[in-house]
Structure formats: structure tokens, C-alpha cells
């Protein structure tokens, strides 16, 4: 089994199952903090999917998008936490 086949038939399905599991929590989540942390986790898993795709298709350009996604994950989590705390204060 070559590297490309291994990544395509084992690694990508495992990542897909994890996306489904996290998305169930994202829909279900009782509080707002649950949904925000599920969103953060979804973006981290998508970084992994981008890295695995860049290996299977042998294209290193995809990693720029991964860097952008890491930035967006941090900004969105911080902004949500900030406004969640601010909403309680007044």
C-alpha cells in the first residue's frame, strides 16, 4: 500500500468521522460556550484535512490556507469569549 492510498483510505475517513462527531456537539450544545469550542475544534480538524490533502496531491501551496485558518480560529474564539463576558457584565 503506497503512502497516497494509505492517506486516502484510512486517514481521511477517520478525520471525516471526527468532523461528524464534533458537528453533532455543535448542533446539540446546551450552552453558547459549547458551540464556540466545537467551532474551534472544527477549524483545527480542517487544518489537518488541508495538510493531508497537500500530501496526497503533492501540492505544498495548500499550507498557506492552513496558516490562514489557524489565524481565523484564534481570532473567532477570542472575539466570542470577549463578547460573551461583556454581555454578562452589563
Amino acid at each position: 500500500m503506497s503512502l497516497q492510498e494509505y492517506f486516502h483510505f484510512i486517514i481521511i475517513p477517520l478525520l471525516g468521522i471526527s468532523v461528524i462527531l464534533v458537528f453533532i456537539r455543535f448542533v446539540k450544545g446546551p450552552s453558547l460556550a459549547d458551540r464556540v469550542i466545537a467551532l474551534d475544534m472544527l477549524i483545527l480538524i480542517s487544518i489537518c484535512i488541508i495538510a493531508v490533502y497537500s500530501i496526497t496531491f503533492n501540492q505544498s501551496t495548500f499550507l498557506d490556507i492552513a496558516m490562514l485558518f489557524a489565524l481565523i480560529a484564534f481570532l473567532s474564539t477570542t472575539a466570542y469569549a470577549f463578547y460573551l463576558e461583556k454581555r454578562e457584565r452589563k
Binding site: 484510512i10 493531508v52 480560529a73 484564534f74 470577549f82
Partner: protein, 132 residues
């Protein structure tokens, strides 16, 4: 030889990611979920990006992968800490099996300041046994 190393690294990273997402579904509490996400997923992302850096074996790709790893290692704990703090202020209920809650009644409700000596303010989330 290099392919086997890449396979092993990616497999360990994917197992960490998968266990994190399983724990997101199974854990009973917001704080436990935040704790799991900030630890295990960081290691998973780091291992998969490290496998990418070994596969391409170029300076430009390695620099990008190391930049993403450093960024994730720096920012995920900060974001999780801010989110857990906001969840504590909004009085999200705690799981009933929690033994010690030392922050109970220690935050000022007006200024959001943390007291070091014993206080009894109104910020104390109640415990629930309802599974979510």
C-alpha cells in the same frame, strides 16, 4: 523508510484528533470539553503538520509548517482559557461529580476581579446531574 515514518506520525496524530472528537461528544461538562480540546487536539495538529514537513523536505514548506505549529501551540491555550473564564462568568452549570471548585465565590461580579482571600460573591455556578 521515510514513508513509514510519515505514516506512523500521521496515524498517531489522527488517533489524537479522533479521541478528542469522541470526548467532545461524551464529556458531561463544558469545562471538561474545553480542557480536552486544548490539550489533545494541539498535539494531533502538530504531529500531522510535522509529517507534512518531513514529506516535502524543502525549506519553504518546513518553515510554513513550523510557523503553523508554533502559532497553534501559542494561541489554542489562550483561546481556551478566555472561553472557560467567560463560561464561568455566565454561570454555566458544573458536572455534579466535580470534587473541588476553588473559584467558587472568588470573582467580583462587577469588576471581574479575582480575590485571593476567602470571599462569598454571587458568581458560583450550580451543579447539575442532567447529562447533556
Amino acid at each position: 523508510m521515510r514513508e513509514i515514518i510519515i505514516m506512523i506520525l500521521a496515524t498517531i496524530g489522527v488517533m489524537f484528533i479522533f479521541s478528542t472528537s469522541l470526548a467532545m461528544l461524551r464529556k458531561p461538562d463544558v469545562y471538561l470539553r474545553i480542557s480536552v480540546t486544548s490539550k489533545a487536539s494541539t498535539l494531533g495538529v502538530g504531529l500531522i503538520l510535522f509529517a507534512t514537513a518531513i514529506f516535502f523536505n524543502e525549506y519553504s514548506v518546513t518553515t510554513r509548517a513550523i510557523a503553523v505549529i508554533l502559532f497553534v501551540f501559542l494561541t489554542v491555550p489562550i483561546g481556551s482559557h478566555m472561553l472557560a473564564r467567560a463560561a464561568y462568568f455566565t454561570k454555566t452549570p458544573i458536572w455534579k461529580g466535580t470534587e473541588i471548585d476553588e473559584l467558587q465565590g472568588q470573582y467580583d461580579p462587577e469588576t471581574h476581579e479575582l480575590y485571593s482571600e476567602k470571599n462569598n460573591t454571587s458568581i458560583k455556578p450550580e451543579k447539575t446531574d442532567k447529562p447533556s
